[in-house]
């Protein structure tokens, strides 16, 4: 998922790959999530929910970098999915990003797992 912006500059890469594990639609995120790339992740979740996929897992294990904008997207996604009767699972075995979730207290707000439950 790489492209060019209007001025021809290369856009930072954010890799989003979709899969299904058990009852979850899984978005695996590679690359860097920041205020520039976060809208792509937000849109991916929105697209899934518009297709009626209300159980979504975002896998941050392969993510190289995530900032507060990315955390904002996680919180927004959780709220939107919950409001629609769905749920968000955050999958993260990545210590750098786990630290971020821990120090913001989001590890207690979000459903964070090491892996997507297959059942």
């Amino acid at each position: 998922m790489r492209g060019t912006s209007g001025d021809g500059a290369a856009e930072p890469e954010l890799g989003l790959s979709l899969s299904e594990v058990g009852e979850y639609a899984v978005i695996s995120v590679s690359g860097e999530i920041d205020m520039y790339t976060a809208p792509q992740l937000r849109e991916a979740v929105r697209q899934l929910s518009s297709e009626g996929r209300m159980r979504v897992a975002i896998d941050l294990t392969p993510t190289e970098f995530c900032d507060s904008t990315g955390l904002g997207v996680l919180i927004g996604a959780r709220r939107r999915l919950s409001d629609s009767g769905g749920s968000l699972l955050v999958v993260c075995a990545n210590p750098r990003i786990r630290k971020l979730l821990d120090l913001t207290g989001l590890d207690k707000v979000l459903d964070v797992r090491e892996a997507v439950p297959s059942e």
Partner: protein, 172 residues
């Protein structure tokens, strides 16, 4: 952009500054945080702290861009790194009022023609993100000071990290 003046044989000879500014757009935050990590590495910040520097400077720049965007300000976000006894990073915005006090968010983006002003989810997450930036910075950076806004300018996030030998600068 200045380089580092670091006399490896006899300690630091002089404080060095790297300073730049960027248009408050999301696309340039990545560049700022990568420069931060590179300058910090060049200054001698411990490898284990470079991720922290990158994350913290990225958060501070994100916060500054959000504050400018919220007000429709196109002024540049200013970034300054100083290498002396410690590695110091300062990120300064020009938004005079705290974003949290801006309850009239419906009017956000006026003058900027920003279509995002109509994107409720994005705005809500941006609001959230600015609050989270400070939480992240507070949890991440031991030496953190946020000043302002004052009458003439916005806020400045100042952070510093130790440099090797800073405690032995007088080792001659």
């Amino acid at each position: 952009m200045n380089g580092s003046k670091h006399d490896r044989a006899g300690g630091r000879t002089e404080a060095v500054t790297v300073r730049f500014a960027f248009t408050p757009a999301a696309a340039y935050v990545r560049a700022a945080r990568l420069v931060a990590a590179d300058v910090a590495a060049h200054a001698g910040v411990a490898t284990g702290l470079l991720d922290e520097v990158r994350q913290a400077v990225g958060e501070a720049c994100t916060r500054a861009v959000l504050r400018h965007r919220d007000r429709g300000l196109e002024d540049l976000v200013r970034v300054e790194f100083s290498i002396g006894d410690r590695f110091i990073a300062k990120i300064t915005d020009n938004a005079q009022d705290l974003r949290a006090r801006s309850s009239g968010r419906i009017g956000a983006g006026v003058g900027g023609g920003d279509a995002r002003a109509n994107d409720h989810d994005a705005i809500e997450e941006d609001t959230l993100s600015e609050e989270i930036t400070l939480i992240v910075l507070g949890g991440l950076v031991e030496d953190l000071v946020v000043t302002g806004p004052d009458g003439n300018g916005g806020t400045t996030v100042s952070m510093s990290w130790p440099l090797p030998g800073s405690g032995s600068a007088t080792d001659h």
